[in-house]
Symmetry: D2
Subunit: 301 residues, 4 copies
């Protein structure tokens, strides 16, 4: 199958490589020349422009940083459709946007695509760069059932879990709901362990008790924030790698933007955003998000 792939960052690059390895013909593009060069070296065919990449493509995939980049790519600078990539994509093409952006933006682009006879779906991912390289990402898809079936063979080359969240935009919503909950449970788990340790408990013993009790959650299973409790967790590697504080902050910001739009109340989710923002402002934006536990411990002044 002929696939155009736009956006060759830490996530998009390896995803495109996996598609090519699976036998697809991939035309890739990124506005950054170094990114193009890096993945050309990895074997990808680089197109001269986004417009060139989508020529003759049956499927277009994009992986960009934020809502405004997706709007600019598909709709053009004026947000009118003029100058946007949609005008260069053939009717009948399937467009899969895997960026994590506002659900409202996914829906806005989908409407413009629909008017041009193009199928646009959102399919944000979780799983990090490790999952992107290994091809074990989780996709949360907003699409009709038919669109999802059309996308499935392609998604399966990049990921191992494919969830159908609902119609277009629902993939984004599911992702921010999940990540808001993740942000909360990481802080909650950190508070609980820190409180226990302040009372003299062993963090390993307490973690194990809670993991097997009603406090059990993904952080206690796979990603314990306390150094030394789990050998492979970022906490045991000086919080290097993993999922950065600033990326969690971005997702919590999207959740708050969404909550404001639908007038939802998210007391813990909103507070989690402010706590990660404080943590980032104190210079820890590049550390794994589980390093938030440090803000709850006594430090040398």
């Amino acid at each position: 199958m002929k696939i155009a792939f736009i956006g060759l960052g830490h996530m998009g690059g390896p995803m495109a490589v996996n598609l090519q390895k699976a036998g697809h013909s991939v035309a890739a593009f990124d506005l950054s020349k170094p990114a193009c060069d890096k993945f050309a070296a990895a074997g990808l065919t680089i197109a001269a422009s986004a417009e060139a990449a989508v020529q003759g493509a049956e499927v277009v995939i994009s992986m960009l940083p934020a809502s405004r980049h997706v709007q600019a790519l598909y709709l053009g600078a004026g947000a009118t459709g003029e100058g946007g990539l949609l005008a260069h994509i053939a009717p009948g093409t399937l467009v899969i946007d895997s960026s994590t952006i506002a659900a409202a933006t996914s829906q806005q682009v989908a409407r413009a695509a629909d008017a041009a006879g193009i199928d646009f779906i959102d399919a944000p991912v979780s799983g990090g760069t490790g999952g992107a390289i290994a091809g074990t990402l989780t996709f949360m898809v907003g699409a009709s059932a038919a669109q999802l079936e059309r996308a499935r063979p392609v998604l399966e080359k990049m990921g191992s879990n494919i969830f159908h969240a609902g119609s277009v935009g629902a993939g984004q919503t599911a992702k921010i709901c999940n990540n808001m909950l993740l942000g909360i449970l990481m802080i909650g788990t950190s508070e609980a362990i820190a409180l226990g340790v302040a009372n003299g408990l062993d963090p390993r013993v307490l973690s194990e008790i809670m993991r097997r009790s009603s406090g059990g959650n993904w952080a206690l299973e796979k990603y314990n924030p306390w150094p030394g409790v789990q050998e492979n967790a970022p906490s045991s590697k000086d919080y290097a790698g993993g999922f950065g504080t600033d990326l969690m902050l971005k997702d919590l910001g999207l959740a708050q933007e969404n909550a404001g739009a639908v007038q939802a109340s998210t007391p813990l989710g909103g507070l989690a955003r402010s706590l990660y923002a404080m943590h980032s402002m104190s210079g820890h934006g590049g550390l794994d998000f589980s390093s938030i536990v440090q803000s709850l411990q006594k430090r040398a002044s």
Copy 2:
């Protein structure tokens, strides 16, 4: 073995019954006459007083509502040891307190017991009245290793999980850490589902996605707060039964009392307490604690 059991409430009564069923000789007592009558009818031998109950007992177990009741029982009203039950318990006896109280109180009573040659350990439980009746409670034990081994055969008649949290008081600390985390997870899960639903997502679909992703936690596994998602959860039974809002509020209050004493920071745990307090004040203290999700949804005014 000859066992004295003090406190025959919804938890203590069935626990004492299980000990008797297991072949132990149980002398039970409660200050409430109706409670004594109810469990006399269930086959328990009721003693004339707490002092009578502990006569000749090898093990004494207590299950009381709050710190002040445990202090009053063992130390007497003046908190001097005079008039307290410790004076009537033979040296060498093992005392197991399964009440959920302040760790500092457990330690205070343990010191007085130790001075009288009595082994005092804390062993608060989780698992609810269902677990008490079925004998499948979880015990979180604060004791020396030797004390725990001495208590184990008795605890095994009432529960299926026995965790050694650390020395005396550690059982209480582990329990409030776990329940603080549980209180946070339940609100966080409620916020996430409510946000998804406000965006048009199906609560079952979203719950299943998060359960299998990094938002996964005990509430999504066993105790989904959204009505209709899990058949056996309290949310599907009008929030009847389960673990009451006011009981969660009590445990979160103990966690805050502890956090204040050790100067720990618990931003989400403290906020969770205030949110359950608001929920209780609006008339929902008797509903299962997962009903907190109602405070995050639009209601008819």
Copy 3:
């Protein structure tokens, strides 16, 4: 002076009336026919359209509900400037937008206006409908010093306090900062009084002590949330009138949107938004925002 006034709601209508009373020639317009009729009856000259209203105007003033209305009015539906009112306004005209909207939107419209040789400034107000009718509003203005001096004679007919917050957009920022702080201090004041009352203190006595101490704030001076403490406060009139919960919720939402955009941390401001959202969802969106105190008190279930 010839003035066009767009937006004749509870605030805009009386503001336009005050300008006419001061001797200006006002051409008014609103998309709602009943609003036009109501203020025609009050003596305003109603134009056939927004385009007709701005014909020959030296000053254009707008008072609209939200960012999207201001964008649609001045820039047109496509956000391209085509179809927008700017195309009908003569170069050299001063446009004063008194809507409370996102600072980013004010700046976006100002750039388009500037390109057309039009002076666009933001001047959101506080003071409520009472201040609009009495002509005692507070204006927070984002403009150059020269633009502000040009606007001052007009603003003085509608308000008694005019603050220069900074360049365009700064009026909006100042307003949401102030209102975020107001939302926080109203809840904080409510918590403090409710805590005192729960301990048996007289709310009047406690309010007076705090008013004269370091807890002193605007709510204790002018707007005590506890019924019966201040005769003229909305709390003593069943929370009727005043500044509605849903309006406070809107402003706190703008503050959070802004905080997300600049990655600021606002733990109390974010929590205040969620608490007002809960209060609104429980059916109190139309009550004065000081009714938030009710959510902190015990109620009959």
Copy 4:
């Protein structure tokens, strides 16, 4: 008048000195020898013990760090009254405790005093060491009207504002309500200014706008947290002096202890405690509490 004064710390010492300067005969005592020596040098008569100090005293005043010290002083170690100072105070004596402690402790001591025919009232202060030296403290008094009138001539030698909060314990409650509100206002004010500055506003201009608008509060009047806005505020002196973060943390802890006891909901007050605890743990416990604004700003990592 013959006055015994127990507790010669940064507050108590200068208060006792002011009483002596006003012509009273003061017998002072502190468990710390250096404290006694320091104020002996300032002219105070130091008694050999607390028991000696209260011999023949018409009024006894105490100024101690925390609840446990007040309990130990008046009731003795065993909390039985035995070994406590009350046994050495003559019936009819007036005892004024100016410590900031739990209201429940004030009431507990008052009951024991009452049984011995002694008048015990609580009169915690605000105003800091500056106010203690200048004799301009604010007293919040829990007492009967007759007891307050008896105490007034003495209090007037040490302070300029005397508030009657209610019966015994009410002084403590009023103080923690006020200080909880102060802690909230300071963080709220910090958030608002930081948000404005992040948007390019001048902190002086924004502070002045809010001070004169509905965000107005004591912090904006007297104690602006942003460096350089008010010359005499601690923020303009590297947060030296003033009211330390750890003292605010203690008062917020008392407020939470109280809220837990009466099941009040204090979402902002509880969060404020956790934020000051984080600030203290990061090494800022000795700085003025307005330094909390630093945790909301971007810092060099």
